[in-house]
Amino acid sequence: MEEEVRRIASDILRGGKVAGVLGLRREHGQVGPHLFTKADELGSLVLSPKHSLAKTVVMLTPRKKRLGIVVRGCDERALIELSKLNQVTLNDLEIIGITCSREQAEECGCAVPYPSRITVGEKVEGVEDPLKVKLLAMTLDERNGFWREQLAKCQKCYGCRNACPICVCRTCEMEQMMWVPKGALPPEMPTFHLIKVFHLADKCTGCGECVAACPVDIPLKTLQLMLLDDMAALFDYDAGIDEGPSPFLTSLEECPIKEAQHD
């Protein structure tokens, strides 16, 4: 798979279709984002470990020349959401979409482990987040107890936010005194986390970077996934897949509520 991606990257670079290809590079045993501008560098292009490049594209936007980028399903969803936030320009990107393996999907608890436009790889079915299933079966009080316990562990390191490919704000409301008083640990519950969770209700890509970054393993992604299911059920809307505006930005004529609710 890696070879195939290198070949495609090389073709578009040599053909002058793009000025560079954004991917991961292994150098001195370290893997990190790199903008390949010469085809002969591509030998060091690797696909793992998984690492989101979406925020790197934001840093490289706006630019004059087209750019190639290697993306997994969640990366592609992030790019679509970031383009709706006017942070990247999809038309300026040449997307090399790669699929994840079943093992990778299981590792991430990913329901959609492939991009909508697959360049390389075979699509495999995703997996349901096991915690989500468990939580939905709980009573209200059990769920409340579960989250109290989880959120009480928070060290307020902002790792979840920093790792999120969609969190691109210049200043963050999680750090604002009026929302979350300074100095308290654990931070005000659950306001601290819910600010992020609600902001991402219509945007989350399900990549799981927030959980991976959390030093105390708070499963915030699961909360986010539950909201994504709600958005799909209520509005027929799939974050990262639908390219139209979020239902929150439209009128009821433009995007009605599917379930009969509120009079």
Binding site: K84, L85, N86, Q87, V168, C169, R170, T171, C172, E173, Q176, M178, W179, H199, P245, F248, L249, T250
Partner: protein
């Protein structure tokens, strides 16, 4: 008026009103005033029998001066009726009028908890605390004014456009009429007579055109289009294109009078298959040219393509057009047989009803068909109209010499393009969509752009003319004032925080927010003259960059905190 937010720490005065017995009879008003005295930043607190009475207002004004107050809280009735009174009182005392907070302890406290005086008193105290905490964070606001260019653009040179232009020019403002065609007159230029007044259409148009051409304030651009319009109320830069040449104009207000056109029902009712199947407009031309003089029988079919066939709407004027043409035919050749196949005759009002009665008395036949089974036209050498005749309760057939189809009005081509250019919406039917169906029929939600005539939807000429005069009247508001004054509690985007995502632009119903490039990146900028102060953009902002003045997050959260910290 004072424009500055006081730099000194808040010094709040609280005035609690008894409203005679209305509040004082339930709530322990002196205790509430005493409680207020102990709240942070409150330096003066008192109770009044009637704060709204002359002595109450004097009390406020005196206290502002004597205690050097820089914020005022009145706890009394409802801001919906009394806020302007208190706001002007503090302004008279030298404070910016927005350094004022209203607490409703009558309509929403004493009157609704009459049997629980203690609880009502406690509630009044918390309501006052909420008001005081918000007041501590109030800022001086101003209603932004923008200058208005004393000129108007009327798009469309039909009757509505000309009437609107004359209405504005009469008041001394420059008007540009832009008409796509070579001549003025629009749809009415193609017809013979105007009903129910029974006047020659040509005389209507020539009268108007003469007045338009005679007016020194009106410049007519025929064979021209509006190529571009940028800006906002009072300040549009408009490019008018004539052939290859463009002229540029500064415009204060715009009236959309682009009209409508008759739908050509190709492929329906055998239209286009036989020269004897015409639309009403085509019939009028043939009548003018004397081509129908020998015709002995005519069948007119109403609701062609309308009312659920191809278009959902009723075209409103087709019934009167059909009856008009039927009467004209019958007047010229009394022996002619005219049948009108209809479903519901739309002739509202006095004058039209009379025309309808006249038509029946002249012997014009009215035959009703159900919408479920519309007539069929067969051109089989002769012409056959087959339909279900409701009054017979049976199928029926006519064999007329001429079939005339009453087809609806449809929007002019280019409506979509214009709607995008002016940032005003179209409805599902493709006609321009007004700001409020009931009370703002001639406005758009966007200030400075107005609407009249059939661009708004099918209607008769009289109604179009009323609308045109009305639209001129609306446009004259900003023009006569020479300025527009915006709301005070407007939204404001912090450029340093804003990431330029454009969510706010998408939710703003008034097109008051633009996404503009500043120092190499995009940010939202609110045009405070256009903002109507709803605050819908605030929750849409992901980064907390958007604020609504007088309803800031910190102000609202202070109020929430006052309640959550209330002792149980």
């Amino acid at each position: 008026m004072s424009e500055e937010t006081p730099k000194s720490p808040p010094r709040i005065g609280v005035f609690v009103c008894h409203c005679g017995k209305n509040i004082g009879g339930v709530v322990d008003v002196p205790s509430v005033a005493k409680f207020a005295e102990g709240l942070p930043n409150v330096v003066f607190s008192t109770d009044n029998l009637y704060t709204c009475a002359e002595d109450g207002l004097t009390c406020i004004k005196d206290a502002v001066v004597k205690h050097n107050l820089n914020r005022v809280v009145v706890a009394s009735c409802t801001p919906r009726t009394h806020a302007p009174l208190f706001m002007s009182a503090i302004e008279e005392a030298g404070l910016n009028q927005y350094l004022f907070e209203f607490v409703n302890i009558r309509d929403q406290c004493s009157w609704v908890h009459m049997k629980e005086p203690e609880k009502a008193t406690k509630k009044a105290m918390i309501l006052v605390e909420m008001g005081v905490r918000k007041a501590s964070l109030l800022e001086a606001l101003e209603e932004k004014e923008i200058a208005v260019e004393p000129s108007a653009l009327v798009i469309g040179g039909g009757v509505a456009g000309m009437v609107a232009a004359l209405g504005i020019a009469d008041h001394g403002f420059q008007v540009h009429i832009v008409e796509r065609e070579e001549r003025l007159g629009g749809l009415i230029g193609n017809i013979e007579k105007v009903y129910p007044v029974k006047r020659a259409a040509s005389s209507v148009i020539s009268d108007l055109e003469r007045a338009v051409r005679a007016s020194p304030m009106i410049e007519v651009h025929t064979s021209s289009t509006v190529k571009d319009a940028k800006g906002y109320v009072g300040n549009y830069d408009v490019e008018i294109q004539n052939g290859g040449a463009s002229t540029f104009h500064r415009i204060g207000a715009i009236i959309v009078a682009t009209g409508a056109t008759e739908f050509k029902p190709e492929g329906m009712y055998s239209y286009g298959e036989d020269g004897r199947i015409l639309t009403q407009l085509e019939l009028e031309r043939q009548m003018r040219e004397g081509k129908v003089d020998g015709v002995k029988s005519v069948a007119m079919i109403q609701c062609v393509a309308a009312r659920g066939e191809k278009f959902t709407y009723c075209s409103k004027m087709c019934c009167s057009v059909a009856i008009k043409n039927a009467i004209e035919l019958k007047t010229k050749q009394p022996a002619i047989d005219v049948s009108i196949l209809y479903n519901d005759i739309q002739m509202p009002g006095e004058a039209l009803e009379k025309v309808y009665t006249d038509a029946r008395e002249m012997g014009i036949k009215f035959l009703r068909f159900p919408l479920k089974a519309r007539p069929q036209v067969v051109a089989d050498g002769g012409l056959a109209v087959r339909f279900f005749n409701e009054s017979l309760g049976a199928d029926d057939e006519l064999r007329p010499d001429l079939v005339v189809l009453s087809a609806p009005l449809v929007p002019r081509e280019g409506a979509k393009e214009l709607s995008r250019m002016l940032k005003v919406p179209l409805g599902q039917d493709g006609f321009f969509f007004e700001a409020h169906v009931k009370l703002r029929p001639l406005d758009f939600a966007t200030d400075g752009v107005y609407l009249c005539g059939t661009a708004h939807g099918p209607k008769g000429l009289q109604e179009s003319i009323s609308q045109a005069m009305g639209a001129a009247s609306r446009a004259l508001i900003p023009l006569s004032n020479g300025k527009v004054r915006g709301e005070a509690a407007v939204a404001f985007a912090d450029e340093a925080t804003c990431i330029g995502c454009g969510n706010c632009v998408k939710v703003c119903p008034y097109v008051a927010i633009d996404r503009v490039e500043r120092n190499g990146r995009f940010v939202a900028v609110v045009n405070s003259a256009l903002c109507k102060a709803c605050g819908t953009c605030v929750p849409a902002c992901p980064s907390g960059a958007m604020t609504q003045k007088s309803f800031t997050d910190s102000q609202l959260l202070e109020m929430v905190d006052a309640v959550s910290q209330e002792e149980a």
